[in-house]
Structures are given as structure tokens and as C-alpha cells.
């Protein structure tokens, strides 16, 4: 069965990459002979096409695997994250896209330099881009590791290596630089990859009696279940549970002997297998609370420490963070004018909403059919394991293959987008756009997260992406919003805001990743700092700008006119 799933996944992946290559070479429109085709060739990318490309770049490992995992573990609280992402695009549409497109800037560093006339601010922005990119790459690597491990039992570093190798190959060969057609088609591939198995799984669930995940008590094993623990975990047991254990449990080796787990915490060693009887309560890994169906389905933040703060902070971080994502902002340059950019941004929320229905669905069904993931902590694997769990073999394996291919497409397309953004920024900053520096920049972009990914433990990919979004929310988003809409922003103000906001967000992110474990308010503040840091960043930018009012760049008025008047009005 595994062999079949792997074969299917490989076939689907090769098909995706092959399609990518074909589109890469045919993405440029060719015309021969007739002149009317000339006009076709000179027509730009349509808003829908560009919106698909943007959605594709946005749907990363977090969206594909992480959302389902979080919904399974923490319930409806986590639906705020996709909601925030979609809302972020609404904000982007309202505040950023059209003026940014009219400014003519290709990257956000270009925008900062053009608007504020300062190379120093440009350099700071470039560093923010690099840090956001690194945080964003971590979950892609981690997702790839989980995917490959679930499919083939390969060690996690195999998945990291595959993603790094493929991305490096694609970026260095220039194969998937920024071709809109490739990304746009990949969005629809990902949608199919997640939707078709979802429909199949949903039908099985209906035929099966449609057990409602939102009612009943905490999850139980429906039948006798073997749970294999891949990485050592601490689990919390609520009621005394009789299990048959093979491997290390609570530090003692067992060899298929029966054993009663008393209520409380237990450590289960790597590679141990526990066999639970039917009807037993599922022990939960210690950072996941065990909750009954009603509580699980309430989006009130009760599952988190300081829930209300955490939910609002995460929501703000994701909304503002989406506004400042550098690799997404670059895509709007492809639109022909501000109006087209705005139309594009209006379509992205629709496409994303369409996509996000399915991961949430997998998460909910995972609670019914795959509760053992709550014990192993591998909740990111929900989407991958659900089809093979529910469907008989050839179909199950094929659908698993399809999902896995979609997931890899997600890792690779997002990673490529980020690596290109980082490498382009480095090349412009250091080497005036030279190709050698661009390549070195790509290596630089990949090596740092690769060195750190082994240190981050069992944090879910959506949590990691939230960190990246928080950094963007606290640094680039204030710069963009104030730079586009407030004449009074000065280079000193922007620089101070970037250093303070970006610095605090990065520090919090690093502390949350490598410093822990934290509890209580420190945990809430470090994991979701946006609600505190983003206002600080806005305030510092505005305050320092007001204090240095005399150095408002002289170009500010012209720049405002250029950004906010329609293109037809020529500014002299």
C-alpha cells in the first residue's frame, strides 16, 4: 500500500513538475506570421490569471497541511487563521495594491527607496524581507519532512533535502523564475489535489453514518488501534487505559506486554507502538487539550492560554502580515495598471476561500477517523493519512498520492517564490542585479533555514507561518501603509519603525522557536506578539516621523500624486 501511494505520489509529482517545465517554455506566448497575433502577444496577464498565481504562491505547506492539523488539534479556533489570510487580501485590495502598482516599484525595497529616497531604509527593508523569507521557509521544509516521512517512513531530513534540491535546481536553472502561467496552473492543480480526495472522503463519511465531530465527548478510538510514535512525545492520559506496548514507555522497555496507563503524563519513546482497545479515550500530546465536541467547535479561543488575546493577536498578525508579504507584493507588478492590480486582489480572497474549505474539512473528519494523531502530535499529517485510512486500497493509495503531490507542489512553489524574492533582494542590494550574486543569494536563502529546521521541534507549520506573518505585520506592513497613505513619513521614522517593530517581532519569534518552553503570558506574548508589537511599530514610525518633520522628502507630494491619481493623468 505504501509502495503504491509513493508511486502515485511520484507519478503525480513528476506530472506536476513536467507540466511546470512545459508551461515554462510555452508560457511566453509565441506568434508567427500574422500581425494581429502581435496584439495578442502584447496583451498583459489577466487579473484572474494573476490572482491564481498569487493564490498559488500564498498556499504554502501551512495552508495545505497546517490548517487541517490545527483544526484537528485545536478546533474551530484555528479557522481564524485562514479567515485572517483572506481578510488580509481585502486590506491589501483596499489600501495597497493600486497605489503600489502605480508607484512602479518592483520589490518592496524599490518602493522604500523611491518613496523615502534613502539607501539605508532600503537596506533595512531588504533585511526584513530576508528574515520574513527565512521564517516562511522553515514550515515549508518541515512540511516536506513530515510528508515524506508519513509516506515512506524516510527520516525527516530526506524531505528537507528533496525540497532544497528541487528548489535550488529550479531557481538556479531559471526554470521557475516568476512565470505567471506556471504558478497559476499550479493553483488549480493544488485545488484539485485537495478537493478530489476531500469529496471521496466526504462520501465515505456519509455512507459510514456521518458521525458528527461537533458533538459527543473527547475523541475515542473507534476500534482496536495500533499507534506508532515516530518522535518521542509526552502524552496526557485522562482515565486509566489498558494498552499493549512495544518499545519505551515512561523510560521502561516493553515487549508486547499489557500495561495500564494511569491518569497523568507519560513519556512515549521514539519508535514505540501502543495498541489501544476500542472505545478507549485518546491520550493527547501535552500541548493539545482534550475537549468535547461542542467546545472543539466553538471559535472562542478557550483552547489556548489567554485565548482572547491569542486569537485577536494571531488574527491581527495574519491580516497585517499578509499585507506585507514581499513575494506576493512582487506579483502585482505583472498587472498592467493599478486598476488591474486592484481587480486581481479582489479575486484572490475568492480563490483562497474556495481552497480553504477543504483543509478545514479534513481537520474535522480527522477528529472522527484519525484521533491517534492527537496522541503522536503529527497533526500536520491529517490530510495525507485520511484518504488511505478511509478508502480501500487502490483508490486510497492513488488519492494519497494526489494529495502528496499537491503538498509538494505547495512546498516547492512557495519556496521558489520566497527564494527568488530573497535572492533578488540580495542581488539588487549587493551586486546591482548580477546573476552570480542572485545565485549566491538563492543558496544563502536556503542554507540558513536548513540549518535551523532541525532545532524547531514539533511546532506545527501553521504556527511557523504565523511567525513569518507577524514579522511582516510589524515591519513591512506599517511601512507600506504609512508610506502609501501618509505624506509625513520620513526615512528616519521608517527606519526606526522597522528596527523596533521588526526587531521585536524577530526576537519574539526566535525566543518562541528556540527558547521555550514558555507558559502563561510570556508564551502568549512570544507566540503571538502582533497585537502588542504592530501598534508599537506604527507608533514609532509615526512618532519619529513627526519628530523629524523637517526632513520629509521633497518628492513626497509628487510621490503621493503619482500613487493616488489614475494613470491617465500625466504628472509633470
Amino acid at each position: 500500500m505504501i509502495v503504491m501511494a509513493v508511486t502515485a505520489a511520484l507519478a503525480a509529482l513528476v506530472a506536476v513538475l513536467g507540466l511546470t517545465a512545459v508551461l515554462g517554455s510555452y508560457g511566453r506566448r509565441r506568434t508567427e506570421r500574422t500581425t494581429s497575433d502581435f496584439l495578442v502577444a502584447s496583451r498583459g496577464v489577466t487579473p484572474l490569471w494573476n490572482a491564481s498565481a498569487i493564490s498559488s504562491e500564498y498556499i504554502s505547506a501551512a495552508a495545505f497541511l497546517g490548517t487541517a492539523g490545527l483544526v484537528l488539534a485545536h478546533g474551530a479556533d484555528m479557522l481564524w487563521l485562514p479567515l485572517g489570510a483572506v481578510a488580509g487580501y481585502v486590506l491589501l485590495l483596499a489600501l495597497v495594491t493600486a497605489p503600489l502598482r502605480r508607484s512602479g516599484a518592483y520589490t518592496i525595497s524599490d518602493f522604500a527607496e523611491w518613496r523615502l529616497g534613502s539607501r539605508a531604509v532600503r537596506r533595512l527593508v531588504s533585511w526584513c524581507v530576508i528574515f520574513i523569507g527565512w521564517f516562511y521557509l522553515l514550515p515549508q521544509f518541515q512540511g516536506a519532512g513530515v510528508t515524506l516521512r508519513v509516506l515512506t517512513r524516510a527520516p525527516v531530513w530526506a524531505g528537507w533535502a528533496v525540497v532544497v534540491a528541487v528548489v535550488l535546481l529550479l531557481v538556479l536553472s531559471g526554470g521557475m523564475r516568476s512565470i505567471t502561467a506556471v504558478q497559476a496552473v499550479q493553483f488549480w492543480i493544488k485545488l484539485v489535489a485537495v478537493a478530489v480526495p476531500a469529496v471521496a472522503v466526504l462520501s465515505v463519511w456519509q455512507l459510514d453514518g456521518a458521525a458528527d465531530p461537533t458533538t459527543g465527548g473527547p475523541p475515542r478510538f473507534e476500534r482496536v488501534t495500533d499507534v506508532r510514535v515516530e518522535t518521542g512525545v509526552t502524552v496526557r492520559v485522562a482515565h486509566p487505559t489498558r494498552v499493549r506496548a512495544t518499545g519505551t514507555v515512561d523510560g521502561a522497555a516493553h515487549d508486547g506486554a499489557d500495561l495500564t496507563l494511569a491518569p497523568g503524563g507519560h513519556t512515549v519513546g521514539e519508535g514505540a507502538t501502543l495498541t489501544f482497545p476500542a472505545g478507549a479515550r485518546v491520550p493527547h500530546v501535552d500541548h493539545v487539550p482534550a475537549r468535547d465536541g461542542t467546545r472543539w467547535s466553538m471559535p472562542d479561543g478557550a483552547s489556548l492560554d489567554h485565548g482572547l488575546y491569542a486569537v485577536y493577536s494571531a488574527l491581527l498578525g495574519v491580516v497585517l502580515g499578509t499585507v506585507g508579504l514581499p513575494h506576493i507584493l512582487m506579483r502585482f507588478y505583472t498587472n498592467t495598471c493599478g486598476r488591474a492590480a486592484r481587480r486581481t486582489a479582489a479575486m484572490v480572497p475568492v480563490l483562497l476561500s474556495l481552497f480553504y474549505v477543504f483543509p478545514a474539512l479534513y481537520g474535522a473528519l480527522g477528529r472522527v477517523y484519525m484521533p491517534e494523531l492527537l496522541m503522536t502530535g503529527d497533526t500536520d499529517a491529517t490530510i495525507l493519512m485520511l484518504p488511505q485510512q478511509l478508502l480501500p486500497d487502490p483508490a486510497g493509495a492513488l488519492l494519497t498520492g494526489l494529495v502528496a503531490a499537491g503538498a509538494f507542489a505547495a512546498f516547492i512553489s512557495t519556496s521558489c517564490g520566497i527564494v527568488v524574492a530573497i535572492a533578488g533582494t540580495v542581488a539588487q542590494c549587493v551586486g546591482r542585479g548580477s546573476v552570480t550574486v542572485f545565485r549566491l543569494g538563492a543558496v544563502f536563502a536556503l542554507v540558513v533555514p536548513l540549518a535551523l529546521v532541525s532545532e524547531i521541534g514539533t511546532l506545527g507549520s501553521a504556527v511557523l507561518v504565523t511567525l513569518a506573518l507577524t514579522v511582516s505585520a510589524c515591519s513591512l506592513c506599517p511601512l507600506l501603509v504609512l508610506g502609501l497613505w501618509w505624506r509625513g513619513l520620513t526615512a528616519a521614522g521608517a527606519g526606526a519603525g522597522l528596527v523596533v517593530g521588526g526587531g521585536l517581532a524577530v526576537a519574539a519569534g526566535v525566543a518562541a522557536l528556540f527558547g521555550g518552553p514558555w507558559t502563561g503570558w510570556p508564551a502568549a506574548l512570544l507566540e503571538q506578539p502582533a497585537l502588542v508589537v504592530a501598534p508599537i511599530s506604527f507608533a514609532v514610525m509615526a512618532g519619529v516621523s513627526l519628530a523629524t518633520r523637517r526632513s520629509v522628502p521633497r518628492r513626497a507630494d509628487r510621490a503621493m500624486a503619482r500613487m493616488h491619481l489614475p494613470e491617465e493623468i500625466v504628472i509633470r
Binding site: 508560457g27 511566453r28 506566448r29 509565441r30 506568434t31 508567427e32 506570421r33 500581425t35 497575433d37 502581435f38 496584439l39 502577444a41 502584447s42 496583451r43 498583459g44 496577464v45 512602479g104 516599484a105 518592483y106 520589490t107 524599490d110 527607496e113 523611491w114 534613502s118 539605508a120 537596506r123 533595512l124 533585511w127 528574515f131 531559471g174 523564475r177 516568476s178 512565470i179 505567471t180 507588478y333 505583472t334 498587472n335 498592467t336 495598471c337 535572492a423 533578488g424 542581488a427 539588487q428 546591482r432 542585479g433 542572485f438 535551523l452 532545532e455 527606519g495 528596527v499 526587531g503 524577530v506 526576537a507 526566535v510 525566543a511 528556540f514 527558547g515 521555550g516 503619482r562 500625466v570
Partner: protein, 424 residues
């Protein structure tokens, strides 16, 4: 690596990065405060020279309120005066009848104390200097100050003479005047005037570059107008419908080429104009002329210099088809290359000797030298090359691959973003 060590490492890298970025923004003020040059006299000289060097960059921008404000501070320190004022000639207003003999002055800045009482009179006191061009010393009576505590008792006014014209006055105020002080004020005024002359030079250099740019602006070639019109004329009787369409195409092309002199356009617009151009050329050459276009839609909104591609295509057709009776292919490719767009125009025509090409390109588009004599080959190329270099820098010139009989391929790179470059 243990978790805390990673934390420390990442933190340190982060701090270093931000500190480094911020450190470069700090003014070099701190570095300038170094001491240790020999005698006190040397010290004084170096201090004076340093003050002068601080004042000169702002003066190099010409005599404006902004530059005067920045420079006056340093001039006051240099002269050790209580107050320094700079007065400029008020630009003559056409609608007001001004007295020709008296030149009106405008106070640009008053730096130092006593501004509330004395600044109002400064422009008035400067008027004789502006008119006569001779320095003047103001006695305590002329300043007429009732405040016994006011340290502004005398004023020394010196003209700023740029290229023989008095453009402003340097007015220095203090408690007393001496011959040495008056002389110092005169010398400083001469130095300021020298800086302003340099500023004039800078601006005339900029004007020259702009004029050169305008001269370089590609224009629709007269040959093409002539050829197109005769081609259309030949269709008027045989195929009036086609002649009409061609005339409309010609009109469209002309409108694009003759439109307001704007410097940049989008690649999409430039391609549209090439389309018109090729329609007209095909009417002339018939089926001999084939072309293909391969454009990445991502690069269509890129800003390119106005008429930067059309001359390349025109050049291909005019010189590539010379004497050849066979079919002729042109291929236009525009690709996306990260922060740049790469564009190439390739033909399979007669090609060109690289040495000759080098001569044409190095002769430049402006000089009416040998380049033009050799049948006008490559004028379009040289023009585009020159403009690309002017706008984007020397590394963005044209790359031409050619050999006799092997066709020609001209490639250029256009950055997607360059400060100040907008398609209009």
C-alpha cells in the same frame, strides 16, 4: 547545538545586522572631531578649512532658501560673527514696473541673534550693494538699534558676483568692524561666489545632458515616411481598401512617434507601435518578410525608453535585407529575468562586420562623423545604445552579435525598476 546557544547566535546575528545597517546611516560628524594636528595655528587653519568644507556642499546646489539656511550656519561660525544674512536678487516680475536702476533684494536667511529686530531691514540695506556691486559697511547709526544689550552694532556687506553679475549679498553683523574683518568678509563672499559659479556650472552641465538627451530622442526616420507613402500610393488604385487600412496604420504609428516628447513608455505600447511599423513594411516587401514574437506577459508593463525597440527592428530590415532576394526572418523575444527584462531582436539577414559595427557604436549617435557617411548603418543602434547607457548606466548598453552573412542579434536588458523612470 543546544537551544540556548542557537538563541544567542541568532540574536547576535540579528543585532549585528541591524546595528550595521543603522551604523551606516549615522552622520560622519563623530569621525570629524579628531584632534592632534600640531600647533594651535594649524588647529585653527584646519578648523576653518573644515568649516568651509561643510558649507560648500549646500552652496553647490545654488542660492536658494534651503541652501542658504544650511550654509549660513557654517559661514557664521567661520567668521565668528553674531549674525549672518544672505540676500538674493529678487527675480524680476514682469507685471510690476520695477525701477531699472535699483535692484530689489530678497532675504533668504538670517542666521544668528537679533533676527526679530534687524532681519526686516537687511534686504533694504543690501540694495545699494546689489545695484552697485561694491562692499559696504553699516555704521551703528545706519542700523539704528535702540536696545543697548543688542550685540549687533555694525554690518559688513559684500556682493556675491557670479560671472560678472551680482546675484546676492553676504551680510555679516557684529559688535564692531575692523579692516581685517571687512577683508575677511570680502574673501568669504568671493569664496561663496566661487561655489555658486560651480553650482551654475553643474546646472548647465545637467542642462547640456538634457539637451543631448532630447537630441538623442529617436525620431521617425524620413526614409520610412517616404517608403511608406510610396507603398501606399501603389495600392491606391489596385486595392483602395488596403490602401486605406495602411494609411490608418501609418497615422497610428505617426501619432505614437510624434506624441508629446515623453521619455518612457511601456513595453506593451512599444510592441504595438512595432506592429504598425511591420504592417507597413510588409505591405512594401510582401511575403519576403517574416517575423515572430515571443513575449513573456510578465514583462509587458516594464518601462522602456520611448522608441527603443522600433529603431532596432527598422535597422534590421533596412540593413539586413540589403541586396538579399530571399526570405527574411525577424524574431523579437522578451523574457523575464527576475529584476530585469531581457529583450532581443534577431534577424537572418546579411549581417555586418563586427569591426565596422564597433566603429559605428563608438562614433556615437550625435557626432555627424563617419557613422553617418557609411550609409547611415547603425544610427538607430548607436542612438538606442547611447540612450540606454544614459538612463540605466554603462552596463545596460546594447549587446550585438553579428558577422557578415550570419545575421544580427541585438539584445538589451531593461531593469524593471529604476528610480525616476515611469512610463507615461
Amino acid at each position: 547545538m543546544s537551544a540556548p546557544s542557537v538563541l544567542v547566535l541568532v540574536g547576535a546575528v540579528f543585532m549585528a545586522v541591524f546595528a550595521g545597517a543603522a551604523g551606516r546611516t549615522l552622520p560622519s560628524r563623530l569621525r570629524a572631531r579628531r584632534h592632534g594636528f600640531g600647533t594651535p595655528a594649524d588647529e585653527a587653519t584646519f578648523r576653518a578649512l573644515h568649516t568651509i568644507s561643510r558649507a560648500s556642499p549646500s552652496l553647490r546646489a545654488g542660492l536658494t532658501r534651503e541652501s542658504a539656511r544650511k550654509a549660513a550656519r557654517h559661514l557664521r561660525a567661520l567668521l565668528g560673527a553674531e549674525a549672518v544674512a544672505l540676500v538674493a536678487v529678487r527675480p524680476a516680475a514682469d507685471d510690476v514696473d520695477t525701477d531699472d536702476e535699483e535692484t530689489d533684494g530678497e532675504l533668504l536667511v538670517w542666521d544668528g541673534e537679533g533676527g526679530d529686530r534687524h532681519s526686516a531691514g537687511a534686504a533694504c540695506q543690501a540694495r545699494p550693494v546689489l545695484t552697485g556691486g561694491r562692499p559696504r559697511v553699516l555704521t551703528p547709526d545706519a542700523l539704528a538699534c535702540d536696545d543697548p544689550a543688542c550685540r549687533i552694532r555694525v554690518g559688513m556687506l559684500a556682493p556675491l558676483t557670479v560671472e560678472g553679475r551680482v546675484t546676492g549679498v553676504l551680510a555679516v553683523y557684529g559688535p564692531s568692524a575692523s579692516a581685517a574683518r571687512v577683508r575677511a568678509v570680502g574673501e568669504v563672499a568671493r569664496w561663496v561666489a566661487g561655489q555658486l559659479e560651480l553650482a551654475e556650472l553643474d546646472s548647465s552641465r545637467a542642462r547640456l545632458a538634457e539637451a543631448e538627451m532630447r537630441a538623442l530622442r529617436a525620431q521617425i526616420s524620413p526614409h520610412f515616411v517616404y517608403n511608406s507613402l510610396t507603398t501606399i500610393a501603389s495600392f491606391v488604385r489596385t486595392d483602395p481598401e488596403r490602401a486605406r487600412e495602411l494609411l490608418l496604420d501609418f497615422a497610428d504609428f505617426a501619432r505614437y512617434s510624434f506624441r508629446n516628447p515623453r521619455d518612457f513608455t511601456t513595453l506593451a505600447d512599444e510592441l504595438r507601435s512595432i506592429d504598425r511599423y511591420l504592417l507597413l513594411e510588409r505591405a512594401r516587401f510582401g511575403d519576403r518578410l517574416h517575423f515572430s514574437v515571443e513575449v513573456a506577459p510578465e514583462v509587458l508593463p516594464v518601462a522602456v525608453p520611448f522608441l527603443s525597440l522600433q529603431p532596432l527592428v527598422e535597422n534590421s530590415i533596412r540593413h539586413g535585407m540589403e541586396g538579399a532576394r530571399t526570405e527574411f526572418h525577424i524574431k523579437i523575444v522578451a523574457r523575464d529575468a527576475g529584476p530585469e527584462a531581457t529583450i532581443s531582436v534577431e534577424d537572418d539577414g546579411v549581417g555586418m562586420d563586427p569591426e565596422r559595427l564597433r566603429g559605428i557604436l563608438s562614433a556615437g549617435a550625435l557626432s555627424p562623423g563617419p557613422g553617418r557617411d557609411r550609409g547611415g548603418a547603425g544610427i538607430g543602434l548607436a542612438n538606442v545604445d547611447e540612450r540606454m547607457r544614459q538612463v540605466y548606466g554603462d552596463e545596460y548598453g546594447l549587446t550585438v552579435e553579428t558577422a557578415p552573412g550570419a545575421g544580427t542579434k541585438v539584445s538589451l536588458r531593461v531593469p524593471k525598476y529604476r528610480p525616476g523612470v515611469f512610463p507615461d
